[in-house]
């Protein structure tokens, strides 16, 4: 039975003990600070969020308030989770969300500093939870093809070169977690916006609106307080879906063309 704690079998469990320095902040308006917690007997097969669950259960039992953090699917696709661990958004492992980061990647005795995304465009809600609704507003500004339900042509009447379909898919994998912003010294959202602009400009379906789209999305991005790109490539390094900075270049090209034409 999946729930049984593995009866009568030898399981090689390894446990580690960690010191956590966690950012605690009650609300957007209150001042935050680091609190120190011990995470004892952490099974190395646990995910990072399961480790936080264990710490939270303990805090609750001690009559303290658990650490608030966003999470949902716990399989790296919903984009809800994320925290900066020892300076790295989503922690030390490449191309991995926090929920998919397992404790076997840490050593016993280590101290982990855990902070929320820090960016003007992402105000802190509580502890590690931030408000990323700015991303939704950027999407509402132009991250779509304006096709109404029912007015689509037969699917195979639009052929798409496999190469472009694959490139569009590479960009479309963005989970909207915001790690790119957290990693960027300018808190720029250009990888996020570039990914959507690229996906739709690579496909014939999105061509018609491509100029209007890039202008509106970039304008909104600026309004929301995200910084500019200075080619640090930190966003690509932090991206759990390995989205390439080529998408930023593609967006810049689209943007310049749109500006010239408008």
């Amino acid at each position: 039975m999946p729930h049984d704690p593995l009866p009568n079998l030898i399981i090689m469990t390894k446990t580690i003990t960690l010191t956590l320095k966690v950012w605690r902040q009650k609300s957007k308006s209150e001042k935050g600070k680091f609190e120190v917690y011990k995470a004892d007997n952490i099974d190395t097969d646990m995910s990072f969020l399961e480790m936080l669950d264990v710490v939270n259960e303990k805090l609750t039992k001690e009559g303290k308030e658990p650490i608030a953090f966003d999470h949902d699917c716990r399989e790296g696709i919903c984009g809800a989770c994320g925290a900066v661990v020892n300076g790295q958004p989503h922690g030390p492992l490449d191309a991995t969300t926090l929920c998919q980061l397992h404790m076997r990647n840490f050593k016993t005795g280590q101290t982990l500093v855990i902070e929320p995304w820090r960016a003007k465009g992402f105000p802190i809600v509580r502890d590690l939870v931030v408000d990323r609704s700015s991303f939704d507003r950027i999407m509402a500004a132009g991250g779509f093809v304006s096709v109404k339900t029912g007015s689509a042509p037969e699917a195979n009447s639009i052929a798409v070169a496999k190469k472009n379909a694959e490139l569009a898919m590479d960009a479309a994998q963005c989970i909207g977690c915001g790690a790119c912003v957290a990693a960027c010294p300018n808190a720029s959202a250009m990888l996020f916006v570039g990914a959507k602009v690229s996906q739709l400009s690579l496909l014939p379906q999105g061509k018609i609106e491509s100029k209007e789209r890039v202008l509106k999305m970039v304008k909104k991005m600026d309004e929301e307080g995200f910084g500019n790109c200075s080619n640090e490539y930190e966003c690509e390094a932090a991206c759990p879906k390995s989205i390439s900075v080529t998408n930023i270049a593609r967006m810049n090209k689209e943007f310049r063309q749109a500006e010239v034409d408008s």
């Binding site: 729930h3 669950d53 496999k162 379906q205």
Partner: protein, 636 residues
């Protein structure tokens, strides 16, 4: 007997005729009608966008920080449609037939036919939105096969089809939000449905950041709040998936249909420890190229690679030669359980079977496999620490989807006028077992192509803007919501919310999981009220109700699971037959297959709430099969 309002006429003409007959709302009047949509998964987002495009005044609620995070995003394998692009003999009829058969003849024929009929429009719509489906070198769309079908009708976007379809629906939703046509309320949880004069009038919500409880009135309420798989605690569902919206609507009079039809997905990463918070699915698409096996010898502890070919039992290929590894999910799951119960399971726990890609790698090369399943292989390695290119995957079944849900008629309206239920939250299309790649199809069919028509038929018959939030029913519902929150916060007991959830989940899994029997179900019925009583005396919910309090959110949801689970178990106890995902050990063929009882149980069982802990009243909707001949499912 319940009236499903299935239109007259031959099966193939029902939907077309119905659409041409149903009432319409004048375009100029549409904006006067307010519609609430709760949930922003495939069904909710597609419905909200489509209703807004038609001109209705739409209000959208979701519990996540963004509508893009709804759990549809995690669907991996694909979406079915009857396009017949591969020229392999597919048709609307065949998709309809496979779905009815796959559902073990416990679904409504007319609904399933309509689903198959609109399936092709979904693909058209998604392609037009810029969903980057997999393509062939010609530039045309590629297909793959899925369980329960002998044609390749599944469209996919790598192993992230749900993500891409949801982002498509989300983009359509945000397009309307950007225009100001939809008002969006993220991080907002529906905590009650308001009924006045027997009609759905609106909802009561709690803002999850500020704790503010609010009233919203509308001319119709649409629930698109997903399934109840998390009643088992461990499932492939996202952590926030819950039954709260459905259950609270049920407590206000909406019937709950077939709750015992739960889907256990055969290919998930096995459980490894009691701290585990969720189970991870490995897409069914892997069964296209992976071969399922266990050692022939019991308790064989050798490494997979050390077990010679003739000492392996490819049990699905042996028992079901024509479908092989691609049998429907319920069969694949039950057979995995059988071999593990026999002591042939592998891995540290003995609760796993192999899914082996060695032959496929030999045949196609590792690169081809990488192209097809890269993200799945990566995810597997990240979680298990093992590369499936080198060693077979270890998999075991896990709770994945719930076919049961709120009862709806052909128009997707519940028994409460003005309350519509779409997607996984309703019970309508999958019978006792859902075929792979059909959840995405149903969610989008309901949202894009069914509800936008049928809701008009209802709204055309009611005067717009009649409901105001100052009705006494709103005040009463709001009061109850606040009282419940205060009560949860005031208990300050010794056990955490998760401890209760885990205990309930283990009980429901043990007694009402992959195999069920009379004695076990009765035991569960005895235990659930005990756990529930303890919860209300001894739960510890820290913090306050006036800010972001995730323990409080979970407590409310677990409180509902503690009530709902009793109805789930009662339904399983009452259905004295085996069908699809509902396997009663007392009712099986000599070969161990599910044994239906069509004489006594060919109906939808819809339960009416009679108070917490009281036996609900059973209402039946007879299932009449006009087109399909009822038969024992055969995948041999």
């Amino acid at each position: 007997m319940l009236d499903s309002k299935i239109p007259e006429g031959p099966l193939k003409e029902k939907w077309t005729k119905h659409k041409s007959k149903i009432k319409l709302v004048n375009p100029a009047n549409k904006r006067k009608y307010h519609v609430i949509v709760v949930g922003t998964g495939l069904a909710g987002a597609s419905a909200a966008a489509s209703l807004s495009e038609l001109g209705y005044n739409v209000h959208v609620f979701c519990i996540q920080d963004s509508p893009r995070r709804a759990h549809s995003i995690a669907a991996q394998g694909g979406i079915n449609a009857a396009k017949n692009y591969p020229n392999d003999g597919d048709s609307i009829y065949r998709l309809f037939y496979d779905t009815v058969k796959g559902g073990d003849f416990r679904s409504r024929e007319a609904n399933v036919y309509r689903l198959a009929e609109v399936s092709n429009c979904i693909i058209d719509q998604c392609v037009a939105q810029g969903v980057p489906f997999a393509r062939e070198y010609s530039g045309y769309l590629d297909n793959r096969s899925f369980g329960g079908a002998q044609v390749s009708r599944t469209f996919y976007a790598r192993g992230q089809t749900g993500q891409q379809l949801l982002l498509g629906a989300y983009s359509a939703l945000m397009k309307e939000v950007g225009k100001g046509a939809i008002k969006l309320y993220p991080r907002t949880e529906m905590l009650d449905l308001v009924i006045a004069d027997g009609v759905a009038r609106g909802i009561i919500t709690r803002n999850l950041v500020t704790g503010k409880v609010e009233r919203f009135a509308a001319d119709a309420v649409v629930l698109a709040t997903g399934g109840y798989g998390n009643v088992f605690y461990l499932s492939t569902n996202a952590k926030a998936c819950n039954v709260t919206a459905s259950w609270r609507a049920h407590k206000k009079g909406a019937l709950f249909a077939n709750p015992c039809y739960t889907q256990i997905h055969p290919t998930c990463i096995p459980v490894h420890g009691d701290y585990q918070s969720k189970l991870t699915l490995m897409s069914e698409s892997l069964r296209n190229d992976g071969r399922v096996w266990v050692p022939k010898k019991k308790g064989d502890t050798r490494q997979a690679s050390q077990i010679p070919e003739d000492e392996r039992d490819y049990y699905l290929e042996r028992k079901y030669p024509s479908f092989g590894n691609l049998v429907p999910r319920d069969l694949a799951s039950r057979n995995a359980k059988l071999v593990c119960d026999e002591g042939k399971g592998v891995g540290a726990t003995g609760q796993a079977v192999y899914l082996d890609f060695a032959d496929a790698i030999k045949r196609l090369g590792a690169d081809k496999l990488k192209e097809r399943y890269e993200n799945l292989f990566e995810m597997y390695e990240r979680i298990s620490g093992v590369s499936a290119y080198k060693e077979p995957m270890m998999i075991y079944p896990a709770v994945h989807y719930t076919m049961g849900g709120l009862w709806v008629d052909y128009n997707l309206m519940s028994n409460l006028p003005g309350l519509f239920v779409i997607g996984e939250a309703n019970f309508s299309d999958h019978g006792a077992n859902r075929l792979g790649a059909s959840a995405l199809m149903q969610g989008l069919a309901d949202g894009y192509f069914v509800l936008p028509y049928t809701i008009g038929d209802y709204l055309a018959g009611v005067k717009s803007g009649q409901t105001k939030t100052d009705l006494p029913e709103f005040a009463e519902a709001e009061k109850q919501v606040k009282e419940k929150t205060d009560r949860l916060l005031s208990i300050k007991g010794k056990k955490t919310v998760d401890e209760f959830h885990r205990e309930l989940g283990k009980l429901v899994w043990d007694k009402c999981g992959m195999a069920r029997n009379d004695a076990g179900l009765k035991e569960a019925l005895k235990r659930i009220p005990e756990i529930r009583d303890e919860f209300w005396k001894n739960v510890n919910v820290p913090g306050s109700g006036t800010d972001l309090n995730q323990s409080l959110e979970r407590a409310g949801r677990v409180a509902d699971f503690l009530e709902f689970s009793e109805t789930l178990v009662r339904d399983a106890l009452h259905r004295r037959e085996s069908c699809g995902g509902h396997f009663r050990e007392e009712f099986q063929t000599p070969e161990g297959e599910a044994l239906r009882d069509d004489n006594n149980f060919c109906y939808v069982g819809a339960w009416q709430f009679q108070g917490v802990g009281n036996e609900p009243t059973l209402h039946k909707e007879a299932l009449n099969f006009e087109e399909v001949h009822l038969a024992q499912r055969n995948y041999k």
